[in-house]
């Protein structure tokens, strides 16, 4: 993986020193909270309901065993022994104390990590397909481009005070696992006449005005990546609305200006910028590419795996749900579920983090990924090592066989932690998972993505959940709105609202009615929830949800 250059190292250390001084000046009264707040947010430090929260970037979701162990050390030393993996491939610590934050940032810098640009109206952590560099369906590993974008966007002087935050996602595969169409800029690698380039999607986003992004360039040559992205940002920086926070994202700019006009202005700006990129970026890219060279894959028999798969039903169930196809036939991609039934989605204890680091070193070519679905990935595991990997995971509560099933739920921290939340989301996720585990139905139900947000800002991606749940405050009571048919893949779709919301204790029964209706409605076990929904529309699901009978199904 990419290692910090002297420049990166010096930059991160200088920022730690600056922020250390800023914290000291806040604590001795030289800085007011109004002065300090933007400074702490620039360094990923929020003040939440019960404590501060530090959001640490995991660029394009790639983390080394050494970094993972350091995250565990931070969790043990300055927090409560765990960390929370988020839908933006970050990790959040929920209980740091302000005087300790400089030491935490220094410990992060020791392993080439930081919390810079994890908040504020700047370019945030660039996210990528968590199977990058391993997936069988991939055109090319997108991470060198993500790293190039990270270097370009970090402390970019023109883009530190954008109208609003700006999120970029990138994938190298046609099967979009990075939700690119719900980002300010989504980049999808495509082939045209044998050449590799990007399809550029702009103006996607969830939140209070969910929109699927629009293609503004169907083929962008690789060497044009930075000047083109810079053109998009610079046009947005000028046109984006600063008068109204709720209309400040680029999706609104795009909507108000129109795709054709925006495309025209962007292309004009691109023509100005392109000559200014004299090839330094391409030289840099060549170095970065070398850092992402694939590991030295082993060539060894896989018979032991086949025998174990046949013999052990628990292993088989796990293998059937948690493994994905690797580009090397002898290897697989292992998704480690951080969604044990009844546990908090995305929370890993320090012991679990250390075990994952050990497994990555012993069996996984020292590579770990964090997915936006709040799981951890071992991207390169030889099939013959799978029984040992599975056995080790089971011992620390990480052997849950539920990836892409109903209990593999995305949930934002919600009102258990977040100051912006309007309702809780974690306990709703916990209870849904427990209920379907009791019913022993989730394997029969098959792929079904539930996504829960505790407020309209949609960190839990509820709009693109097959079943989306949005927690609101309705007259001082938690109330949950349900949407159906959302999809975060290359066929991105915003879910449709079913109707009136449900009280906190009515959400699990409501979800159960929807799922049981699906089991009745599907033509065969092969037809997934989403396929059934697309075939029939919302009608029959609404009828089951509100128990109104088939006559209201239209």
């Amino acid at each position: 993986m990419y290692s910090y250059s002297d420049f990166d190292e010096a930059f991160v250390r200088a920022r730690v020193a600056q922020f250390t001084d800023q914290v000291n000046r806040r604590l001795d009264g030289s800085l007011t909270e109004d002065e300090f707040r933007p400074l702490r947010l620039m360094n990923g430090l929020y003040l939440q309901l019960h404590a501060y929260m530090l959001r640490v970037a995991i660029p394009y979701g790639t983390v080394s065993p050494r970094q993972m162990r350091q995250l565990a050390y931070i969790a043990d030393t300055w927090d409560k022994g765990y960390g929370h993996f988020t839908t933006r491939q970050n990790i959040q610590f929920n209980w740091p104390k302000l005087p300790d934050v400089p030491a935490i940032l220094s410990a992060l810098a020791d392993v080439e990590m930081h919390a810079i640009q994890t908040s504020g109206n700047c370019v945030r952590n660039v996210t990528a397909d968590h199977f990058a560099g391993a997936a069988a369906d991939e055109i090319e590993d997108p991470r060198p481009y993500a790293e190039l974008l990270r270097q370009w966007s970090t402390d970019h002087p023109e883009f530190q005070f954008l109208p609003r935050k700006f999120k970029i996602a990138i994938t190298g595969a046609p099967n979009d696992r990075a939700v690119t169409k719900a980002h300010d800029i989504g980049l999808r690698m495509v082939k045209k006449n044998g050449e590799t380039g990007f399809e550029v999607i702009v103006g996607g986003g969830l939140g209070r005005t969910p929109m699927v992004g629009m293609v503004v360039r169907d083929f962008l040559p690789i060497e044009d990546l930075l000047p083109y992205v810079e053109a998009v940002l610079s046009v947005y920086n000028v046109l984006g609305r600063r008068d109204n926070k709720y209309k400040a994202r680029i999706k609104i700019t795009l909507h108000e200006t129109g795709r054709e006009e925006i495309t025209r202005i962007v292309e004009e700006r691109f023509a100005e910028l392109k000559p200014l990129f004299a090839g330094h970026d391409q030289a840099l890219l060549a170095d970065i590419r070398a850092a992402f060279a694939p590991p030295a894959f082993r060539n060894a028999p896989v018979d032991a795996y086949d025998a174990f798969y046949k013999a052990d039903p628990v292993f088989r169930a796990w293998a059937d749900t948690n493994l994905a196809q690797h580009r090397n036939d002898q290897y697989v991609i292992v998704t480690v579920s951080i969604k044990a039934h009844g546990q908090t989605p995305g929370d890993a204890t320090s012991d679990q983090m250390r075990l994952l680091a050990d497994l990555a070193e012993t069996y996984g070519h020292s590579d770990l990924r964090i997915s936006h679905e709040q799981n951890v990935i071992l991207p390169h595991v030889h099939k013959s090592d799978l029984p040992a990997v599975h056995a080790a995971l089971v011992k620390v509560g990480l052997g849950t066989a539920n990836v892409s099933l109903i209990s593999d739920i995305i949930a934002c921290p919600g009102m258990d932690y977040c100051a912006l939340a309007t309702a809780r989301s974690i306990p709703v996720a916990q209870e849904i998972a427990i209920r379907f585990n009791e019913l022993k139905l989730e394997h029969e139900v098959g792929p079904l993505k539930i996504k829960i947000s505790g407020c309209i800002n949609a960190c839990g991606h509820h709009h693109v959940g097959h079943i989306g749940i949005l927690g609101l405050d309705r007259a001082g009571v938690e109330n949950y709105q349900i949407t159906l048919g959302g999809d975060g893949t290359e066929d991105a779709t915003i879910g449709e609202k079913t109707g009136p919301g449900f009280a906190y204790d009515q959400v699990v029964p409501a979800v159960e009615r929807i799922v049981l209706a699906y089991l009745d409605l599907r033509t065969s076990p092969e037809e997934t929830f989403l396929q059934t929904y697309r075939r029939l529309g919302i009608g029959p699901f609404k009828a089951a949800l509100y128990e109104t009978g088939a006559q209201d199904a239209a």
Binding site: R26, L27, G29, T32, E33, L47, Q48, L49, H50, A51, Y52, K80, N94, W95, P96, K97, L98, P99, T344, D347, M415, D416, Y417, R424, I426, P427, Q430, D473, G476, V477, E478
Partner: protein, 100 residues
């Protein structure tokens, strides 16, 4: 005169970040029931100003709706109720620190 909903002054501690409440004798307490219940609007605004001036102790002071209870003021909104306890997924925060 429009009816004023009783309030307490609440904030987060600057260093620790935990939720605290202003008492009648000018302390910051972690316990909601020890807070001063403010039933007069003018007095509430004055207490909020006094709280906000304590810049080295607390951050983000605001008035939160409350009501009188047998042991002292109680929160009326679920958000404020959560702030008195801690998160629901772990036994962390006040519910653990003070064995509530």
């Amino acid at each position: 005169m429009s009816r004023f909903t009783p309030k307490v002054v609440t904030a987060n501690r600057l260093r620790e970040g935990d939720a605290v409440y202003l008492t009648a004798d000018d302390r910051w307490t972690p316990f909601h029931h020890e807070a001063e219940l403010l039933e007069d609007e003018a007095h509430a605004q004055l207490r909020l100003l006094e709280a906000a001036a304590q810049k080295l102790i607390v951050v983000g002071a605001y008035l939160a709706d409350a009501k009188a209870g047998p042991n002292g003021p109680e929160p009326t909104h679920f958000r404020e109720a959560f702030r008195t306890r801690g998160p629901s997924n772990y036994h962390h925060g006040k519910q653990a620190d003070f064995a509530l």
